[in-house]
């Protein structure tokens, strides 16, 4: 009898001071039945990964407005991998140019959502991806 629920860390790295978008996403994901850990502003990649580990999340969502995404995403990923959290699904949102989006998504390590994305779409994406990952890890165990 397993009662697993999707756990998501919504984090805000970098220095910009707005977290309304992040808070909105957090509550939408909650309304889709997920358990959302919200961490507040100004997190370093190491802190984000450490929280992800302590909370054993399935998803790390980064909200970035400062333009530092090309640097931050890989750094968070690296910190996660160092902690053995390579299964974590990374998603991101914010103002990210199309080219950068493609670069980040092509490595297969992040899925990005531009401003104005329907939040329900994000929730659905998470549900599908995490369910896949769970099935894969169950098969391995």
């Amino acid at each position: 009898m397993s009662e697993r629920r999707i756990r998501v860390l919504v984090a805000k790295p970098g220095l910009d001071g707005h977290d309304r978008g992040a808070k909105t996403v957090a509550s939408v994901l909650r309304d889709h039945g997920m358990e959302v850990i919200y961490t507040g502003l100004h997190k370093t990649p190491a802190m984000i990964a450490e929280i992800a580990l302590q909370e054993d999340v399935d998803v790390v969502g980064l909200s970035i407005l400062s333009g530092a995404h090309m640097e931050l995403f890989p750094r968070v990923r690296k910190e996660l991998v160092e902690r053995g959290m390579d299964q974590v699904l990374m998603i991101g949102g914010g103002i990210i140019p199309q080219d950068d989006m493609q670069t980040l998504e092509s490595d297969g390590f992040a899925k990005l959502f531009g401003p104005g994305t329907n939040t329900g779409v994000i929730a659905e994406y998470i549900q599908t991806e995490v369910t896949k990952r769970w099935a894969a890890s169950e098969a391995k165990a």
Binding site: M1, R30, D31, Y38, A46, M47, L53
Partner: protein, 325 residues
């Protein structure tokens, strides 16, 4: 196969791997079928940590206080595991877990492990997962385990009541002392912290609570919970709160084992209840029996008596057989 997975996870946990600690807490809260075996493998290491339950009305400053207590405990070179329980949304089943926002300065500290937990559906299930998570942190080697729940209901009370010491946090402005008394929080308390003493009304609340404690405990063989003032947000008086927790622990000293065993009995009782329920209603044919009885026109109470009698009868016969064999 399941067995080797739980073995390796417990081995990794006992070797001090934080990811294993985290994952085993997930097993506990997901009621993963591998958890009981994993717990078995680490059980010899459970029982060394002190356990403090922190509860109180929403917004009283519990997380802030836990964070400051944690800072003080770290100065004593002791490691700390924190479990922060927040309610799940009854509608979606999801949850926003925000306690650790108040504990952010602890994230970089390798001697601290903070885990947020949603209360999820069933009331007994939550208390069980929380106790399991405390056991896992204990086995990992955390010296002190702190668990925070919002003091709003029986399920939340059950969680903190499983700890050695219960700290109830109140603050001025969040209702008066009478409300705290009505809620039953005071009966649970081993230590009462009046937080936000920088705000008006703190002295009044403190004297109300002191009097309430006196009325309840005077002349009786009961622990009188000390009422301690603090302002966690200003890092004032937190040392007094910690001292009061230690005093209570000192007081428990001789009875700590029996105190803990009583709480374990509660845990076992609950698991037995769940197993019985499952066996009787989901795997057994009790539903059909009851339906047949109701068809004959018996009342719900008569039906229940009838069913209970026959179950007990069966149990006695089986027990007698067991003795003979």
């Amino acid at each position: 196969m399941a067995s080797s997975a739980s073995n390796s996870l417990s081995t990794r946990l006992l070797a001090g791997e934080r990811l294993a600690l985290s994952r085993m807490i997930s097993w506990a809260e997901n009621s993963n079928s591998r958890f009981p075996e994993a717990l078995e493998a680490i059980w010899s290491q459970v029982g060394r940590a002190t356990r403090t339950g922190v509860t109180g009305p929403p917004g009283a400053g519990k997380s802030t206080l836990v964070n400051e207590l944690c800072a003080l405990i770290r100065e004593e070179e002791r490691t700390v595991g924190i479990l922060a329980v927040d309610p799940s949304s009854p509608l979606s089943g999801g949850a926003l877990l925000g306690d650790r926002i108040r504990m952010e300065d602890r994230t970089a500290d390798a001697g601290v492990f903070i885990r947020s937990m949603a209360s999820r559906g069933s009331h007994g299930g939550m208390a069980r997962s929380a106790v399991d998570a405390m056991d896992v942190m204990d086995a990992f080697g955390m010296h002190d385990v702190l668990v925070e729940t919002v003091g709003v209901g029986q399920a939340e009370y059950d969680v903190v009541a499983a700890a050695d010491t219960v700290l109830v946090v109140l603050c001025p402005g969040a209702g008066d002392g009478v409300q705290a008394m009505k809620s039953g929080l005071l009966e649970l308390a081993d230590v009462i912290a009046i937080n936000k003493c920088d705000l008006p009304g703190a002295d009044r609340l403190t004297s109300d609570m002191t009097e309430a404690v006196h009325l309840r405990t005077a002349g009786r063989d009961l622990w009188a919970p000390p009422v301690v003032q603090c302002s966690a947000g200003k890092r004032e008086g937190v040392d007094d709160v910690l001292a009061a927790i230690k005093t209570h622990r000192e007081h428990l000293k001789e009875q700590l084992d029996s105190h803990r065993r009583r709480k374990r009995i509660q845990q076992v009782r609950q698991v037995v209840g769940e197993r019985m329920e499952e066996a009787l209603w989901e795997e057994g044919d009790l539903t059909e029996q009851v339906e047949a009885l109701l068809r004959t026109g018996t009342t719900p109470y008569a039906t229940a008596s009838n069913v209970t009698q026959s179950l007990l009868q069966t149990a006695r016969v089986n027990q007698a057989k067991g003795i003979q064999a």
